[in-house]
Amino acid sequence: MRNTLGFLTILALAAAPLAAEGGSDIKGKYIFKKTCKTCHAAGASAKEVTPLSKTQAQWKAYFAAAKHNGGKEPLGKLLKPEQVKDVQAFLVNHASDSPQPETCGG
């Protein structure tokens, strides 16, 4: 019994980061373009951001903090929780040091 519990704990611990990254890369790209890019584009109101703007580790750290606008507001204010996960999956998967770096339309 104790062994089983231990095994389950290990399993839960191992699964935790997977759950955090459980978003959909493809959905994330769409949400990133439709939401983030309305401000974070060249010539728009905020600094241009693409997946290449950060490394995978930097994106993970950004989403761990989940703060927008220089830490002033939570990301949850702009996106639903599952959308945050989707965007995270997209940005991490295509970060500057990822196997498939992407600019998302320049």
Binding site: S24, I26, K27, G28, D86, P99
Partner: protein, 530 residues
């Protein structure tokens, strides 16, 4: 003497002032003229009001639809529009090939080769299907007869929120029910999602079609600009039963369309269909219509919207890695000069077109055709000459490049380009041997096992982004030495060409005239004194 001087000099001053004012008048008139009539914007608004159905009221469109399940939406559409899918399935947008039997092997679903991503049939269908008006094209086994595979929304979305992914499916994040409730007639954005992005990115392939058209000022496109006529693509590319008028590998160079009876359908895909064959006030300009396409003078340059178009794509230099990783290089303007997945590239804005005699026919090159690799292979040789009554001088974007071919069979090759690392696709593993072997297997075509690169060239007709008439070419742009038509052969062009004999006779006549006038004047002067 001094008393006499002011009189003629004042007259001279007045004459000079008059001359300057007269020459400036048309310029001032043009500056104060209204920017554009915008009549089509009004027309469209009126047409919108005449709709009799509000799609948001239909039960069948309330959803929710499963994420990315475009076919469910199509089934809902077809429950009322019962014949729509059958109509779409007869079109080029669906079949990716012309219906004309004489054009066997043309079309991207068959053996056509281009200068950009080369070919779809070497296993690239799934990636290319992002621009197919259907769902589920993954390989050559796509079912072209299944009505629920028709993608209604890509052309009828009015929200701008619709987006397709691999295989032609909607992105699972797309709000399908919302889009389905707001469907309407196709706008420029619907056409643009594919036709602006041909060749893989904005402005890449065409040179006269890119995303800037949607917000273009009148100076960039007098027709499509909202400040200009405010037209839609579909005002010229009229459709009948979902088949939209378009070149389909044959573009009439001189389509003098006029309806023969009221209500006769026609495409309006020619300037003359609206502007007539003699639109200028000047007889001399109208006479040009016989031999010069309107586009030649009225589109002084392509890629005028601010985005650069691709002029060259060198596949032979693709595949270089930096520290084992693919990379890209950009020039000072931010234009991509090298990318591991493409090779070397050349881009440019505001490019002067090249001019060629063109009668509306191109002979395309297919994967099954034998080529002669000694010279650059022109993938779509243009037909026409001065002697050809159908031919006119047309502006073109010339696109250079190179691509792999089979040096034993002397044929082009369909490599598998789009695929993940480890799959064998070129953009995954950068191994031509594997990508070609797999691609040719998927295409069901023979390959000798060898490959080399051959220089290629493609010609893209320039017909959109028409400039305001003040920017139309001046006479001397062509009628001069080293002018725009310097290399257009087969005829005598005044101002460009000369014959020593004719020149001698002409100048002799001028000289003799002067002599005669001088002698005549001298006699009159002398005789008046006596």
């Amino acid at each position: 003497m001094s008393a006499l001087l002011p009189f003629p000099s004042r007259q001279l001053r007045q004459a000079l002032t008059g001359l300057i004012v007269c020459s400036l008048l048309p310029l001032m008139a043009q500056q104060t003229a209204p920017a554009g009539h915008g009549s089509y914007t009004k027309l469209r608004a009126e047409r919108g009001q005449s709709a009799t159905a509000d799609h948001s009221k239909f039960k069948v469109l309330q959803g929710p639809f499963k994420d990315g399940d475009g076919s469910a939406v199509t089934r809902a559409c077809l429950s009322c529009h019962t014949k729509a899918a059958a109509q779409v399935m007869a079109t080029k947008h669906w079949n990716w090939r012309p219906s004309d039997k004489k054009l066997e092997g043309y079309g991207k679903s068959t053996h056509l080769v281009n200068n950009f991503c080369i070919s779809t049939i070497g296993g690239n269908q799934e990636a290319c299907a992002r621009c197919h008006a259907g769902y589920g094209m993954k390989d050559s086994g796509f079912d072209y007869t299944k009505a629920e595979n028709v993608d209604c929304l890509v052309c009828h979305d009015t929200t701008g929120d619709y987006e397709k992914i691999k295989g032609g499916y909607p992105n699972p994040a797309v709000p399908l029910a919302d889009i389905a409730q707001k469907v309407g007639r196709p706008g420029n954005q619907n056409c643009g999602v594919c036709h602006f992005f041909g060749g893989g990115a904005d402005a890449t392939k065409h040179g006269d079609l890119d995303d800037t058209i949607l917000k273009a000022p009148r100076a960039v496109d007098v027709h499509l600009s909202k400040q200009g006529a405010g037209m839609a693509c579909t005002d010229c590319h009229l459709s009948q039963a979902h088949e939209i008028a378009g070149p389909g590998y044959i573009e009439a160079a001189d389509r003098r369309e006029q309806p023969r009876f009221p209500g006769e359908p026609m495409s309006r895909m020619s300037c003359a269909a609206c502007h007539t064959a003699s639109p200028h006030a000047s007889f001399v300009l109208n006479r040009h219509y016989r031999k010069v396409a309107c586009q030649t003078c009225h589109i002084p340059a392509f890629a005028r919207g601010g985005l650069a178009s691709n002029l060259s794509w060198t596949w032979s230099t693709a595949g270089k890695l930096k520290e084992g990783r693919p990379y890209e290089e950009r020039d000072a303007q931010g234009l991509e000069t090298y990318n591991t997945i493409h090779g070397d590239m050349v881009w440019a804005k505001d490019v002067k077109p090249e001019y060629v005699w063109y009668d509306g026919h191109m002979a395309f090159t297919r994967l099954t055709d034998t080529i002669s690799p000694a010279r650059p292979v022109v993938l779509n040789p243009l037909q026409g000459s001065y002697a050809d009554p159908e031919a006119k001088i047309w502006p073109f974007k010339r696109h250079d490049g190179d691509q792999p071919f089979d040096p034993v069979l002397n044929r082009f090759i369909a490599p598998w380009t789009a695929g993940p690392k480890g799959s064998g696709a070129y953009w995954g593993d950068y191994d031509w041997d594997r990508a070609i072997r797999l691609g040719m297997e998927k295409a069901g075509l023979p390959w000798s096992g060898k490959y080399d690169f051959v220089k290629t060239q493609m010609w893209w007709p320039i017909t959109h982004m028409v400039a305001p008439k003040t920017q139309a070419l001046a006479c001397t742009e062509c009628h001069s030495r080293q002018g725009r038509l310097d290399r257009v052969a087969g005829f005598y062009l005044p101002g460009r060409d000369r014959g020593a004999g004719v020149d001698f006779l002409g100048w002799s006549a001028v000289l003799l005239t002067f002599c005669a006038v001088a002698v005549h004047g001298a006699f009159r002067f002398l005789s008046s004194r006596s």
